[in-house]
Amino acid sequence: MNHLSEEQLILHYYGESDDAAAAGDALATERHLEECGECRALYVSLQRVLNVVDALPVPERSADYGAEVWQRIEHRLGARRS
């Protein structure tokens, strides 16, 4: 097996197989990652980058945010029946 492409590694990260027909792909990819230090290093760097992206904060909205939104839009809903 050749080295894994960046695309294959990204697919593997998201658990999507490259080709619907190739169900053995995930297994082959995993085996290659176990055996090949080069690809493993690339995969680890990919994981690290995506972990950092995951940590980007999203400001919280309180539990009654939905009620606030409703108050702001309620009077503007009339247009549908025009």
Binding site: L50, V58, P59, R61, Y65, R81
Partner: protein
Amino acid sequence: MDCNDLGLVTRARAGGTDAFRVLVERYSRPLFRLAYRMTGNQQDAEDVVQDSFLRAYKQLARFDERASFGTWLYRIAVNCSLDLVRSRKRRNELMAPEDSQMDDPILSLPARDPSPDRIAMSGEVRDRVAEAMTDLSASERTAFVLRHFEGMCIEDVSRVLGCQPGAAKHSVFRAVQKLRRALEPLVSAAR
């Protein structure tokens, strides 16, 4: 009120604003998170949430009951976000041609309720991640946000984007590739 989306949509279509209100209360917070990931800006995200519900209400008659209301609403929110980002870009280009990222408020965000991850993330790292996200194209950013943060499958991502699954997959690739190029030096330096 305990009722599934479809039942609520049916009642809202018949003019039941109470039913629509339940949908608004149910989806406002997830929609805000999506809109924030898409726009990188709290005020814009707030606007997107409101505009999305207004658009959804107007288009309720066009909703296909075999589809998921959530996915349909997300599609509307993504489109609202893209419209807003586009108009902001145009505005910025008119005002400051070379400096369109200057006023990205994500850079000055106070996290209200910091989780351990947020504490661990230094301001500099956060800025770089936010910047890398703004450097993605509209379709890359959308595909990435939906696949990565919302955990949607490629099929659903392509439905939201209105493109073929192959194209959606490709947008996810390009997004991750760009993020990796931009952020790799940062993560390897940190360890």
